[in-house]
């Protein structure tokens, strides 16, 4: 084990989000949403926003740090960072990148943020008409493979086939998210519970995924504030210390046109061991998990690759009651997640992981000292992170 580690070096001391809207429904432009979430996170921490000196994001967020720093009147910008890759794979990586900057003294107070206004810009789940396609899309779009669901359904299909996964396993993941959203007033699907029957009767989006296997698309923004561990107790709430962060993907995962040698993967087979190594915890130590639901099949593979159960155990493990707070074996997506709280491109999951450590979740797990987030299954790079309470240091 290398002594080069982020374990315990930084803490998340502030979290903030805007109201979450259905896609296209935000009354505010995207840049303003980003500012609102950042100020909310500063307010949550009890921190003067002028102390912010860095920004980290992912998935080509359009709100660039120099404009943010100018708009917020920051004395100086010391760190600006974009994690390559699409989808939500960079959510935990952005936290890791911010943490690395703070841990090594490049910056003192870094914001991790993501903002989306899909009415102002293009939706993810709809393709623009006509035109030409070149590069990777040339081998996909003419066959009707354009949206993220279409892009990744074949990965999941192969995994489900190889491991004889029953439809009820994916359904349990959807039911857990919707169950937790009913307790969370911030959730877009609050007040709209989902039953197993409604899931079974829902339309196919792309086999093997029904409507409720697929994330929402939403408008809003989310932000977290990261400071050095030695300052973490100067703020309003109980700190959530970063125990570990890892990103990447296995051998040739990014081989073009669906040619990754290990195809039936959520991309975490090499990332998860790095994460556990840095955090110095085992899967059995993890009290609560937020796992990015682009599609339920991706969550299933992520949980397998993070060692919570074996693929051949998935049908038995993935029962709704096992995934529900407070008593389930592995409380999952306790805010409602991408499916039912908000598709804030996954960053709402980081916020929920912090709230679990603080004891502030609307579906609180008792003594949640070790709180994991898994970001962006099946894309590359992917990332995951573990937060801990002071007791874990």
């Amino acid at each position: 084990m290398s002594d080069r580690s982020l374990r315990g070096k930084v803490a998340v001391v502030g979290v903030g989000e805007t109201t979450y809207w259905r896609h296209g429904k935000s009354p505010h432009p995207e840049f303003k949403l980003a500012l609102m979430a950042i100020l909310a996170a500063a307010e949550d921490a009890g921190l003067d926003p002028r102390r912010i000196d860095g920004f980290a994001s992912y998935s080509n967020d359009r709100n660039d740090p120099s404009r943010l720093a100018a708009a917020l009147g920051l004395p100086a910008l010391r760190f600006s960072n974009m994690n390559w890759g699409g989808g939500g794979g960079g959510g935990s990586a952005a936290v890791g990148n911010a943490a690395a900057a703070v841990a090594c003294g490049m910056a003192d107070c870094v914001v991790v943020f993501r903002a989306l206004a899909q009415g102002q810009f293009q939706r993810f789940g709809a393709a623009p008409p006509g035109g030409t396609a070149s590069g990777e899309p040339a081998f996909n779009a003419p066959y009707g493979v354009m949206s993220p669901a279409q892009r990744y359904a074949m990965r999941a299909m192969r995994f489900l086939h190889e491991n004889k996964i029953a439809p009820s396993a994916q359904r349990a993941i959807a039911l857990a998210s919707y169950h937790h959203a009913q307790a969370n007033p911030r959730a877009v699907m609050h007040g709209r519970p989902l039953t197993a029957e409604a899931y079974d009767e829902s339309r196919w989006i792309v086999e093997p995924w029904r409507l409720f296997d697929c994330c929402q698309e939403n408008d809003g923004a989310a932000a977290l504030i990261i400071v050095p561990a030695e300052q973490a107790k100067d703020f309003r709430h109980k700190p959530a210390y970063l125990l570990g962060s890892a990103q990447g993907s296995e051998h040739r995962n990014g081989a073009r046109v669906h040619n990754a040698p290990l195809y039936a993967t959520s991309s975490f087979t090499t990332v998860a061991p790095q994460l556990y190594g840095m955090a110095q915890v085992e899967p059995s130590d993890v009290d609560v998990v937020q796992s990015y639901e682009n599609f339920t099949g991706g969550v299933l593979m992520s949980l397998v690759e993070h060692g919570f159960f074996k693929a051949e155990e998935a049908n038995d493990f993935l029962e709704p009651e096992n995934l529900m707070a407070p008593k389930g074996r592995l409380p999952l997506n306790t805010s409602g997640g991408n499916l039912a709280e908000c598709y804030m491109h996954g960053l709402e999951l980081q916020i929920e992981a912090v709230r679990q450590v603080r004891g502030q979740s609307t579906s609180q797990v008792k003594d949640a000292d070790v709180s994991m987030v898994i970001s962006g299954p099946m894309v590359t790079p992917v990332s995951s992170m573990i937060l801990g309470s002071e007791a874990t240091l």
Partner: protein, 144 residues
């Protein structure tokens, strides 16, 4: 008659030309795959270097078009205007045993609601789009 309605994006070679021999081959009715000139490793999608031996030298090999379904999906929800009201269609990911088991994508011709079996043998067929601007030919798959 094409499997999917006209109006989907037309494929054009990448602007660095890495995949142009594939698209040119498809116009001729030939399935071309990239192969390392030095170590003979097949590769797909098209790339500038051999991931096995790191040689930049490669050639294009005409292959038989025999394949095996590795995975599949059936989209129902139309995400593109050209697919509105069209209904479901089948996309297959096909391994080519004659070319180092590289995988190619395509539609599985026939009934869009057919049962699809992973491991089933398929054959490449060529679907010309002569009236498209610019014209192109897609490689599709049919069960044998």
């Amino acid at each position: 008659m094409s499997y999917l309605p006209n109006g989907l994006p037309s494929p054009v070679p990448e602007n660095d030309g890495v995949d142009k021999p594939y698209w040119d081959g498809a116009r001729r009715g030939e399935l071309m795959v990239q192969r390392c000139s030095k170590c003979g490793t097949f590769r797909w999608g098209p790339e500038w270097i051999c991931h096995k031996c790191l040689s930049f030298d490669f050639d294009w090999q005409k292959v038989s078009g025999k394949g095996r379904i590795y995975s599949w999906e059936r989209p129902w929800h139309p995400v593109h205007p050209a697919l509105k009201g069209h209904g479901p269609y089948v996309v297959v990911l096909v391994e080519l045993p004659d070319a180092g088991n590289v995988r190619m994508l395509g539609n599985l011709l026939g009934d869009p609601r057919q049962e699809v079996r992973i491991g089933a043998e398929v054959q490449a067929v060529f679907e010309p789009h002569d009236d498209a601007q610019p014209p192109f030919t897609l490689v599709q798959w049919k069960t044998v």
